[in-house]
Amino acid sequence: MKIASLLALFALAVVEIACYPVKAYHEATPVMTLPGNPNITLAYVEFDDNGEMYDQHLCQLNDPKCTDRKTMIRPELEQTIARIQDLELHSVGANYVLFIHGWKNNADNTNNVAGFQVFLHQIYDYYSHSAAPGDPPAPLMGIYIGWRGASVKVGQDLTYWFRSDATLRVAGPNLEEALYRIIRAVKGPPPSAAAPNPTTTAKSNLIFIGHSFGGRVLEKVMTSYFESSLLAVDGDHPGCQATSAQKTIDSRFFPDLTVLLNEAAPATDAKQFLEFLKCHQITYDRTYPGYPDKPDLSNQPEASPLFLSITSEGDAATSIALPIGQTAERFTMKTRDYGDAADPPEIPNQSTYFTHSAANIPALHSHQVRLHGCAEGEVEVHLGSSNPAPYHFCEVPTAPMPGMPYWNHSPYWIAKIPVAIVPDHSDIFRPQLFNFLQFFLSKESLQTPRTRPLQRLNIR
């Protein structure tokens, strides 16, 4: 009995020491400026293991005065929104970068917390150094979405399934509320059937990045956001039949860029959203009316990504560990064959989507990143900003070619990136990746956010 008690005590002590606590690390001061640059703000919004935001009650619940729902606040989100409103009020445009970390990280002093701060400095230096004299650089705000991606301090590799399940809880109503409120605070209200092109006073850039399991969280939340926004203006679309007239929606209320980086998620969601985009024949483009020095870009719409999913070729976590982990989980469910209806035809069974991430299914690739120019049948993509990385971004052919993908021409861009840009799953906050992302981030729009490209969704 004594030994059993001692063992139980020992086990409790081990759990206490080896587990990360369930707590908000930045509740007291969720919004702060980065050391060395007061023009960069960093905010934390944290979620617990059930996907709930940490809240505070301003009075006891049994207090008769405590009947108003406003007696409970979520200090991290409220102060983040207040800071965004403050920047919107006192600047002519700002840049916001929201990051959702992945597995083995949280909002404490983990790898991603430090890396994200360095990343913010890189972005700010990128656009502020070339700002015109007398023109103050636009302020930059980073928003770090924290969750319990790291649950134990030892043997983290064994927590794949537990943390994978946690992502489904984190991508819940509380995070949806947080992200949607941040989008509205920066961009204004989304369109509705009554007002498909709402007047927006948005003047700032908003970039979302989700890494690893954080990519899964971001994809889940933003897929429903994009779908509901599109259906709000195209809701009576029967099946995949073409509508009578093409609709074009000013989509400045969307985030300017949504990046899924080394996303650790089965491709089931991606497959369904890709079908939705294909069904509605949605294209997404942008023009640059605010760039008088680039007349060639002013009226020429260029295709842009609604989602940009990029995964390193050296990412063993999503290319090897994820299929192994998902294969084990597949035994808990049943999948079906698509038969002749398989689309793309290379993937005849649902299980392929369940056991691989989207970027690890070559048939879903929309682009190839190549060092020595595009291959036959591919079209090189030129975006508004010059490409500082020595790579060519090539759109896949439109017709089947041996050994090459051709199917995904939707605004959900999916590509593998070379190990020289990102060598593995975790080493993401590095200059090479930032150089590569500059291709998608117009320096002009970061310098002067109010002149950023006009983004439009086209529904045929």
């Binding site: 001061t29 050391p35 102060q79 790898n111 509205r184 290379e346 070559p362 050994g403 020289a420």
Partner: protein, 231 residues
């Protein structure tokens, strides 16, 4: 805390303040009139800083050393090595076979690993060398192989190329530490030098693996991907 208190008081005094503001409109946030406080500095032993900071601070060297003393590879590496020696009978026969022999073999290997980590740490500290592995950035395979091998003897991370002694001294520490454990007959200086050479070979193998690791996983990852038809 003051900031939060201010918001809390405002929320109580003006109950409609948050809920009633129009969507996306810039309402003046009274509590945010001043700049937020500065963020606390990232601890020097944060994983990201240990990977990217240059040059290393003394505390960072100590953190790297501590992590080398107790790491997954140290624990399992010694276990696998001892298992191999038990199966293929490469350990001294005096240690015996079975659990006791395995335990002695494991302890000896783990101690040698600790001696290696200690030797590397002290040498790198004394000669201001950077003990972290690094990628070549080259594309030619031969250049990469040579570069990885060269990192054992040359430290070119800064603006100058300097000799690197910590790998050799670490290997010697590992090899000669065995003299405290190995039985007579395998305890000569020649044996210790052989063990040191083995240890240095291990470092070389790790340097090569580190250089080619992304490519190894790139190839392995393709095996797990659903294939596109060739024709």
């Amino acid at each position: 805390m003051i900031l939060y208190s201010a918001i809390s008081v405002l929320a109580l005094v003006f109950p409609g303040w948050r809920a009633d503001q129009p969507d996306g409109q810039a309402t003046q946030p009274q509590a945010q009139a001043q700049a937020p406080p500065p963020a606390p500095p990232i601890p020097v032993c944060n994983d990201y800083r240990l990977q990217y900071d240059y040059p290393l601070q003394p505390k960072q060297r100590a953190c790297i050393y501590a992590s080398n003393l107790l790491s997954v590879s140290a624990v399992f590496g010694a276990g696998l090595g001892a298992g191999w020696a038990q199966v293929f009978k490469t350990d001294p026969p005096q240690w015996g076979r079975g659990p006791q022999g395995y335990a002695i073999s494991y302890g000896t290997r783990y101690a040698a690993g600790m001696a290696k980590a200690t030797g590397e740490y002290l040498a790198a500290f004394a000669f201001h060398e950077d003990p972290r592995p690094r990628h070549s950035g080259a594309t030619n395979a031969l250049d990469r192989i040579l570069y990885a091998a060269g990192t054992l003897f040359v430290d070119n991370r800064g603006c100058r190329t300097l000799p690197a002694t910590h790998t050799v001294l670490g290997a010697l520490s590992s090899g000669f530490s065995g003299m405290a454990f190995y039985p007579n007959g395998q305890n000569t200086v020649t044996d210790a030098l052989k063990r040191s050479a083995m240890s240095l070979g291990g470092s070389a193998a790790y340097a090569e693996f580190f250089e080619f690791e992304p490519d190894v996983f790139r190839v392995l990852g393709k095996w797990f991907s659903p294939k596109l038809p060739k024709k």
